[in-house]
């Protein structure tokens, strides 16, 4: 059964349309990542679900109930803000207890619930601390706990780890995933980091200009991007503009068999799927630079017209600057008019 349903939601500000006829259905216990560059409307969408913005048109329902014009305090959603927005004049316990007090729960139960949730986020015994005595990661955990303690139907996370360093971010997102799975809580997670989305989500919704580009499982989004935009946004991708003629894609000496009708096309191939082979004679391209990362090497390739491509190989020592090579894409996709016309596998 779907917990959240967004139908045809549009949000216009005076000059721009942030979210444009958006549709999404989220199932019970699902963790959906809204992924997109800044300005793609993902945060606005989340704020509409939380009740902080009202859609210009469209319908949002939670558990089958229309909440489109319900104010945030009456919605069964819990929001974790990027800036964590802890109330600095209250200690950790009071931050968590505030919502429970508003619900007039007995003192003992408030205490029990708060302590249980603090334990859950790994901050057992931190109740008496002032919020400014906590590290960035701990503050974000308190913000998460503050939402969780009210047992919301839907947890909304608005780039919660954006202000943390890489290391901490990775650890926290694993914790969030664990907690989410344990509580089976329906979660929407806004991020502009593809790693985060790939690591966390049951489903990724890639957004661009207020619309959905693709909504699918992470591995599908990664392996079978629906559009060149998704292809370019998730992971590293070589995107080559060219044309298909007689079943062959061609761009400046680089040719790949693409069984599709004649016309312009964009070829997308991941560095790890772009094999290179030493060429006799001129070859398709030349090696521009080799960067050794130890576990693997990235080879920068230059086509005759100057276009650069990347290839990932196991061994750096086999290659050197200026060496003529041939390109053999193992897996690739071709796009025309923003849709895939061919996938190699």
């Amino acid at each position: 059964m779907s917990v959240l349903e967004i139908r045809n939601v549009t949000k216009s500000f005076s000059t721009t349309t942030a979210v444009d006829s958006f549709n999404l259905t989220v199932g019970d216990g699902e963790l959906v990542c809204l992924l997109g560059p800044s300005g793609s409307g993902k945060s606005t969408l989340l704020r509409m679900i939380g009740g902080f913005e009202t859609p210009t048109s469209g319908l949002i329902s939670i558990d089958g109930e229309d909440v489109t014009r319900v104010p945030p305090e009456k919605r069964p959603t819990g929001m974790v803000f990027q800036s964590h927005a802890l109330w600095t004049h209250m200690n950790v316990f009071k931050n968590l207890a505030f919502g429970l007090k508003l619900r007039r729960l007995p003192e003992a139960e408030i205490r029990r619930k708060v302590e249980a949730v603090l334990e859950l986020v790994g901050l057992g015994g931190y109740g008496h601390r002032a919020t400014n005595q906590l590290s960035g990661g701990q503050q974000q955990r308190v913000a998460l706990a503050r939402s969780l303690v009210l047992e919301p139907k839907i947890l909304l996370l608005d780039e919660p780890f954006a202000s943390l360093d890489q290391h901490l971010r990775e650890r926290l997102r694993e914790e969030v995933r664990d907690i989410q799975q344990r509580l089976k809580i329906t979660t929407l997670f806004v991020t502009h980091g593809q790693d985060e989305a790939l690591a966390l989500a049951d489903r990724i919704v890639v957004m661009r200009d207020g619309r959905t580009e693709q909504a699918a499982r992470p591995d599908v989004v990664y392996r079978e991007p629906a559009t060149p935009f998704v292809a370019g946004f998730i992971g590293t991708m070589n995107l080559v503009e060219g044309a298909v003629a007689n079943g062959t894609f061609k761009h400046s000496g680089f040719t790949v068999p693409v069984p599709a009708g004649d016309g312009p096309a964009t070829l997308a191939v991941r560095p790890e799927a772009l094999e290179i082979a030493s060429a006799d004679g001129a070859g398709m391209a030349r090696i521009h630079r080799v960067t050794d990362y130890g576990t693997h090497a990235i080879v920068d390739i230059e086509l005759p017209d100057g276009t650069r491509l990347k290839s990932m190989t196991g061994e750096a020592r086999d290659w050197s600057h200026g060496q003529p090579i041939d390109l053999k894409p193992r897996a690739f996709a071709a796009y025309r008019d923003n849709a895939a016309i061919h996938r190699s596998n």
Binding site: G50, E73, G78, F81, S83, W87, G99, L102, L150
Partner: protein
């Protein structure tokens, strides 16, 4: 290469300023303080012949001192109360709501500072004359109330604006009504700065001399006004000294509590720096 001034040197400039400012700023006040606790100090002795609290008893026994203390306190309390009552909601509106003419109305509070103050007081007094407000308690309240407007609007506006919107949204999110958010989140967050503004306006009103003198005298006699008449007409030096020490108490409290707000940059920016 940039020369670094990290080596430890004797800060002669600092010592010079410290010495001169101590002499010029602290010394006169010490002299006044000394006079207040002096029973006998006749020329040309460098130190008083006799210390004591004799004149405290005499000053505090005077009816005019007590009546002006009461007058000053009730004026300052009334003005601060009214000012907070009308300015704090207005400050919240300026900080958080949108309405036509918001900016021009906000800057209109500067008008009082664009003119020489005493000239403005005389112009207001001209109007009060026809309203029969001269020499009345409420006339002085009104004129002092106007003097507090700029501070009591601008400082709280900055305080409200600096409260993170997300904090308020987070409170809405956990189920607080807008009114509850204001009471439990916005006000406590902006509280210390607003308290400082209220304290400053109380102290400022307590010491306000010119409006009280022009509008209130002779019926309304505040402590500073009484002090002027002591300076002009009172041959006993110690009365003035004791009154000075008494007068300085509110300032001392303000010094303790409002210092951080004043030395912060936002305060000076309020003056256009």
């Amino acid at each position: 290469m940039a020369r670094m001034l990290t080596e430890r040197r004797i800060d002669w400039t600092g010592i010079f300023f410290a010495a001169v400012l101590t002499l010029v700023i602290v010394f006169p006040l010490i002299v006044v303080g000394t006079w207040a606790f002096t029973n006998v100090w006749r020329y040309p002795s460098v130190i008083p012949q006799e210390f004591g609290l004799k004149f405290w008893n005499q000053t505090l026994a005077r009816a005019d001192v007590w009546s002006s203390i009461t007058m000053s306190l009730s004026l300052a309390t009334m003005v601060t109360f009214l000012s907070a009552l009308i300015c704090l909601p207005a400050a919240y509106a300026f900080a958080r709501l949108d309405f036509p003419g918001r900016n021009i109305l906000f800057f209109s509070f500067l008008a009082g500072h664009a003119f020489p103050k005493f000239g403005l007081l005389v112009a207001i007094a001209g109007i009060f004359l026809s309203l029969n407000l001269i020499g009345t308690f409420w006339g002085v309240v009104l004129i002092q109330l106007v003097g507090t407007l700029l501070f009591m609007i601008w400082i709280p506006v900055a305080a409200f604006q600096s409260v993170d919107r997300r904090m308020e949204e987070a409170a809405r999110d956990v189920g607080a009504s807008p009114l509850r958010v204001f009471w439990s989140i916005t006000l406590p967050q902006a509280g210390p700065t607003i308290a400082a503004a209220i304290l400053l306006s109380f102290v400022g009103t307590f010491y306000e001399t010119e409006g009280a003198w022009l509008i209130g005298a002779p019926q309304i006699r505040t402590l500073p006004v009484l002090m002027i008449s002591f300076i002009n007409n009172q041959p006993v030096i110690q009365y003035g000294a004791v009154l000075s020490v008494l007068l300085w108490i509110p300032s001392f409290i303000a010094l303790l509590f409002a210092r951080r707000v004043i030395s912060s940059g936002s305060f000076a920016r309020g003056f256009g720096a």
